[in-house]
Symmetry: D2
Subunit: 124 residues, 4 copies
Amino acid sequence: MAGLNDSTTTVSELKSRVLAFVRERDWEQFHSPKNLSMALAAESGELMEHFLWATPEQSHAIAREGVKREKIADELADVVIYAIEFANITGLDLAAAIEAKMAANARKYPVEKARGRADKYTEL
Amino acid sequence: MAGLNDSTTTVSELKSRVLAFVRERDWEQFHSPKNLSMALAAESGELMEHFLWATPEQSHAIAREGVKREKIADELADVVIYAIEFANITGLDLAAAIEAKMAANARKYPVEKARGRADKYTEL
Amino acid sequence: MAGLNDSTTTVSELKSRVLAFVRERDWEQFHSPKNLSMALAAESGELMEHFLWATPEQSHAIAREGVKREKIADELADVVIYAIEFANITGLDLAAAIEAKMAANARKYPVEKARGRADKYTEL
Amino acid sequence: MAGLNDSTTTVSELKSRVLAFVRERDWEQFHSPKNLSMALAAESGELMEHFLWATPEQSHAIAREGVKREKIADELADVVIYAIEFANITGLDLAAAIEAKMAANARKYPVEKARGRADKYTEL
């Protein structure tokens, strides 16, 4: 098996794989939006744990270290798997939602005002 | 513009769009793995807020209501945008990471043992 | 040692104990508000993990089971320890902050409007 | 009213105040351990949002700025209110749980090994 990669894999393919995994195990009964949002938040907490006491600069190095990199990739995958399953269960189109959100963000954070600044749009 | 949708959009296309947005604003300086993991967790907290006091059953209905559905789609998009940007900054391949994690999950949760059960693999 | 209990322990006593623990280990250098807020969120994610797939009703039983109850008490303690340390580092008075927040909540959620309803105050 | 402060307020007094607030509104029906753990995690996400793009050093200054300091105190209060209510609903003694957890932490992180180091106990 050649394996999946970002260049050739559509969001729908990921959705189908996650859905098949869930259905084989009869787990849709547990996958309410409420429960999936909790799982997503819990997994993002686990991703964050790798970086608690590091400076932002150090966190770049942590994400490059062999063993930690693999664990970090695993936690990130968990987060995205639950996001995909949330989209499956609710019938949301992720690419469309991302496109719409980025368009809204572009209005909130116009390039000329937001460049190089980390301020919230209400403070630009 | 026809707009993106999950059927035809690859992960790489989403990555490129997010990266372009970030670079235009010179925001990469703020996007350490540490900071992005925080943003991801904070956004997943916002997604969760829609379902705090609802039962799991009620949460399905909440995710279908017009106005709330849009807000929920926005929060989900925020989560995935930060996950994508985390992959951009760290050079991780999301589809490969998801495939690897699902293979590991399939070993931890074999269909015959896990079917219909929400227990952790250590308790199966 | 008789041990601490909620009836006789002031918030300041808890603050002092946490501060002493941290100072003995020379850990204040890591305890910025940013890092402590991350630790707090990560620990609250761990608390939540005990209840991901349970119904709200089942979660009451989980919190009563012997071994799980101990783990849950540990996670809750972690959350509160980080909240206390956050107050230590920032010089905030927790009891005063809680009193002020509850007064604000009482205005947002007057008894006659909020009784028996889980709606956000903007929807009452 | 003189107002509460950490020096003279016991944990039990805070518990009683939160419980009274909740009961007056007949909200115990919504306060399962599951739901309260979600609320706690969501509020800790809100606390974290104040520090997303700041460096750890900058976060000290943010927590001192007038208006932000008040908002941060409010978010911290929300976190602790939900932790207290979690203890109310589950019958846990917070001071005892904190004391027990700190004793366990002292064993995991002996002063001589842990001093000045942010490593996890498994890596000391």
